[in-house]
Amino acid sequence: MSTTLIPPAAKLARREFLKTSAALGGGLCIAAYVPELAAAAAGPADGVFAPNAFVRIAPDDSVTLILNHSEMGQGIYTSLPMLLNEELEAEWSKIKIEAAPVDPAYNHSLFGIQMTGGSTTTPSEWERFRRMGAMARIMLVQAAAQKWSVDPSSCHVEKGAVIHAASGKKATYGSLVNDAAQLKPPQNIPLKDPKQFTLVGKPTRRLDTPSKVNGSAQFGLDVKVPGMLFAVVLRPPVFGAKLTTVDGSEALKIKGVRAVEQIPSGVAVIADKFWAAKQAREKVKANWDEGENASLSTAKMLQDFSKLSATPGTLAKKSGDPASALQSAAKTITAEYDVPYLAHAMMEPLNCVIDFRGDTAEIWTGTQFETIDRAAAAKVLGLSPEKIKLNTTLLGGGFGRRANPDSDWVVEAAHVAKIAKAPVKVVWTREDDLAGGWYRPMWHDRFAAGLDAQGNPVAWTHTIVGQSILTGTAFEQFGVKDGVDSASVEGAADLLYGIPNLQVDLHSPKIGVPVQWWRSVGHSHTGFSVEGFFDEVAHAGGKDPYELRRKLLANQPRMLAVLNLVAEKAGWGKPLPAGRGRGIATHFSFDSYVAQVVEASVEKNGDVRVHRVVCAVDCGRAINPDIVKAQMEGGIIFGLTAALKTEITLDRGRVQQTNFHDYQMLRMFESPAIEVHIVPSEANPTGVGEPGVPPAAPALANAIFAATGKRVRRLPIRPADLVTEGTSKS
């Protein structure tokens, strides 16, 4: 069984940080109980009840929750308050949200650093947030009971008030803050029986929606600091190229331009306003020593990867005797699959504001990696991390990009801040974002399967080629075991299907393109290739792809339930309009089980139409079912975009895509009807942000096969390959 709850990068980060902050290891929850630490962490105003690092209750009954995870669309600014308020039972409309400062009290309870990622927020906070809410409630009840000289157990709470039913006494939380603040935190904090939940499990409107429909939501790019300058950076045309000469004289002639200076990542152009900086950048004359990456070509890599996949790689998984099982099989099939580099392309381009005051600094940015970013900026600015206040803003999309192992955009902004002599906002343009690297790796997957005389798969081998995300970083020693980066083989080495002879091996070529986790990480390629090839195996054996999955998932009850639900809701096997096909796929990731059925057709010119997607998910207990649905919907669109639209290619070392005209997103007119069905569960909650992505591309590819008989083994899907009449589309 996979351990994707803790992505490998984070696992190592956890160890890394536990080493340096041993006192916190295993005591992360305890940290939140220490009042001194809590006070230091979020600095409550006088007269505010702050029982722990996460809750602030003011005399006016307002309840402020300090949230230690970043809101990037996944809804945790609503689901975390739901967890906490399930126990606190404050009035929902009185709850306000604040982003936590950087402090050990706010560390991820699994990873030991402050961060958001790996679809772990709700699973990791499921207990802690309820406990923090219960702790505050217990103290408020005790304060009221003391005041009334009654037994706390004779009181109950309701909508932000403590009530003593026998005497009819009632006190709002706000009226109890002074008394509650005098009390010691309780030692024993029992939690509700889930049967008594009144908030958790109920579709609940997001707390952040009003601010996102009137322009008031503050993203990093919206931060305003008095006296703030703006900067853009001219970065090299080839990854790793070194600046040899720079002439900023023409750029400096533009009105409002303050400085044109070399920094490690390129040339910083600083001006009074963004537009002046951007125009000035176009006038900077720079020469580069392009280095060895100037010959990089993804067209050549495509061939190289295929050749490499024909040779044995480092073993990631072996069960049974795949070689002899293949040899003795009644029938064997083979196939190769390819997926390209992909950019995260969040709608809000990267940006960072830094006010460097010499002995202290303040940073504003939308980040998923607070601890790492602050430490990295501190190093550049020559400060200790505690001298830096980092403010996490709302994130205009993240998808992994804002959890950069090198803190690339924050480090760069720190270098700019050192020369700006004023607060400065570094802004990336869309062109900067797409050419900026840190992509989902390009992958090649080579499969062979052996079928017995009845058409059942008895052997499965899978050779993966693609860059390791962790190798070459500080995390390598922890995340890569025996030459295998577990992020490269997740979703492949932990195959749920009962195939007796299984082998997965891996090649991790070193290539000078920076790569990074991208929504669903390794599953973003294994979901496509494994489920596509599985469909091929089913057809080769004369089996219905749904029925074969059922059969081979007999020992996986949760996935089987998801599969059966999606097939039922999608009407699997029922007639479709002429020209349409149905495809099915399942994928287990981030400890959640997802299955999807896509209905699609292909126009004569090869254009693909996706009509309908039905999704079933088992993510344990759904904290906010509407958010779970929204994340599946979004994950499906994200997966279909990768299937139909996007690829980053390099020629002579240069990224060829520049903006949304050549890095196209799925748009409204291409967006299918989507239905999401949640399997009721009382298991602990599991990941939701990422697991909707992996099945979408293979379900579509399998639907195209059902509709046309043409097998899609390379993404993005090329209409030219699917043309049925006339000349191919260019």
């Binding site: 709302l394 999309g397 669109i637 949304f660």
Partner: protein
Amino acid sequence: VTSFFVNGKSVQVDDDPATPLLWVLRDSLGMTGTKFGCGMALCGACTVHLDGKAIRSCVAPLSRAEGKHVTTIEGLSSDLSHPLQRAWIEVDVPQCGYCQSGQIMSAAVLLHENPKPTDKDIDEAMSGNICRCGTYPRIRRAIHRAAEMAAEKSAR
């Protein structure tokens, strides 16, 4: 100096008249509800109304606004009472929310010109606005819902 109206208020700015209206709104007037996504009129995040028509402010020079009325997301209503805002809240459309100002401003022009849009009308009016979070199904639902709300209001 360029003079125009933003959400009914008269403003004067001394930016270069070639500066895109987006950056005048954001950096000179401090109105950050209008977003930057691409700078090439490809994503719609910067959509505002110029004399009632939806424009992409990232490619519209300031000079184009001279003497005209610009409406931004901040000017849609002062109290979240616009049917689109109410529908967006009811359907819980936004995820990250970054593109939603532009989505709503595009939808506002659609509903103004076509109070009862079909799915096809929505496809045509809204396909210039990208949402990377994939909220399209909810945007569609919310536009239909806003059309209903507006109809209920005018029927009363």
